[in-house]
Amino acid sequence: MAPVISTNQLTKRFGQFIAANALTFEVDKGEIFGFLGANGAGKTTAMRMLCGLSTPSSGKATVAGFDIYTQTEKIKQNIGYMSQKFSLYDDLTVAENIRFYAGIYGMSTPAIKTKTNQLLQELQLEKEAKTLVKALPLGWKQKLAFSVAIVHDPDIVFLDEPTGGVDPVTRRQFWDLIYAASDKGVTVFVTTHYMDEAEYCNRVSIMVDGVIAALDSPANLKQQFNATTMEDVFYELARNAKRKAD
């Protein structure tokens, strides 16, 4: 089976500064892939390239089978994206938000209708369909934001610090959603500053100063660095980072 993400020597320069340096890795279908790194290590730059928002300086990559130089619009149609700042419209209702996102992704009116009902049922939000999103508790908003990010059944969803600032119970419920999506075959590409969450990933990459300094399963990484937790692994790799000022 072809990997969902495949990069080869992917590089982005800003003038003299090499933000992302020769990234080479693959992510498989249905995998939960943790993308970690210190602030300023180049994570955002890498993610923007993979989402088709930024053209690489050199190297190759495909996302969902599409080339990141020439097929960026195709990529955008076949990925989902959710950041910590909820991408929902507070002044639209729950159902309107779903319809909006499904419409953006070009779904047909009957398909949108079916999908809306299905999502409301799955999220147990049927009674809240006509509630404005701003009136929802944080945990529900987060579930809804994730659901609209994958409303168009993308091959892969990018989650940029999706659990920042939420309470510990909600944070764990969110990971239940991630597991469920992964079980359905959706590839999950996730960044986080919570090191316990790194343990929930199938594989984890850790970026330091623009390069991928380590990439393996959490168990193998801990063994490799003779560490008991992923936090220790991260600390070991990132404490000597040169891009310190960030």
């Binding site: 602030n39 944080l138 920042g164 600032g165 939420v166 510990p168 500053h193 919570y194 991260f234 960030d246």
Partner: protein, 299 residues
Amino acid sequence: MINLTSIKKSYNKGQIPAVTGISLSVERGELFGLIGPDGAGKTTLFRILTTLLIPDEGTATVDGLDVVKDYAKIRSRVGYMPGRFSLYQDLTIEENLNFFATVFGTTIKENYHLIEEIYKQIEPFKDRRAGKLSGGMKQKLALCCALIHKPTVLFLDEPTTGVDVVSRKEFWDMLQRLKQEGITILVSTPYMDEANRCDRIALIQKGSILSVDTPKGIVDAFPQDLFAVRSAKTHQLLRDVRDFPGTDTCFAFGESLHVTFKGDPRPLIPWLKQKGQADATMEKITPGIEDCFIHLLKN
């Protein structure tokens, strides 16, 4: 040093309660943590204590001064680093620092020893405009500006949110040193693991306090035995342990599950083996602050 008595505050004409009756006191020289998720009311408390917001009900004092009547005096004595970067984007690092020193009637030189360690790290960029700085550098500059007048109390609203593990450790080391200078520090964070760096903490959720104590006191008050359960198939393990009839609560904590039981925990392991989790193990553990927070949320 800080005293809150039955403080209430709501927004939108009472429609959105932010703080629903909080009483709290922080001793002189203490490093006190407000631990809670977004929307818990942390920022509202900071804004009341820094005299930027008037409470609906209740009274509060900082350094013996009333936050409503003596607001001007309080402002000259406290340092405040808001969660959102609020320095002047068009001024350079040095200009911002000079500005804040001047406003408070002091000079950079006078209290340089307080900021030296932090300022040295951003000094090479002192002619760069604040708006062009990276997140970590902005944070360091904001802390310098909040310290330059040698405040008696320092208010830090989520200084480490979105900051990586390494920088977070450094930041807390620095707070320990500021505490040695005698500065009282009230700091908020959504990261439960940082609670252990505080003298005392308040766990807050939805505008009220769940518990106030030393980190150790909070952990000691955990009422049940807590167990860590492990196997290679963590995701499947989560489902299996939740299905076990004797399970009370079960939450994922990194590579293990943290589990409490309604009765005897011992039948779990044989039960898991039956389910195909041949390598499942269980050991009794000491709860962390996050376990306690989850327990308090559930009850």
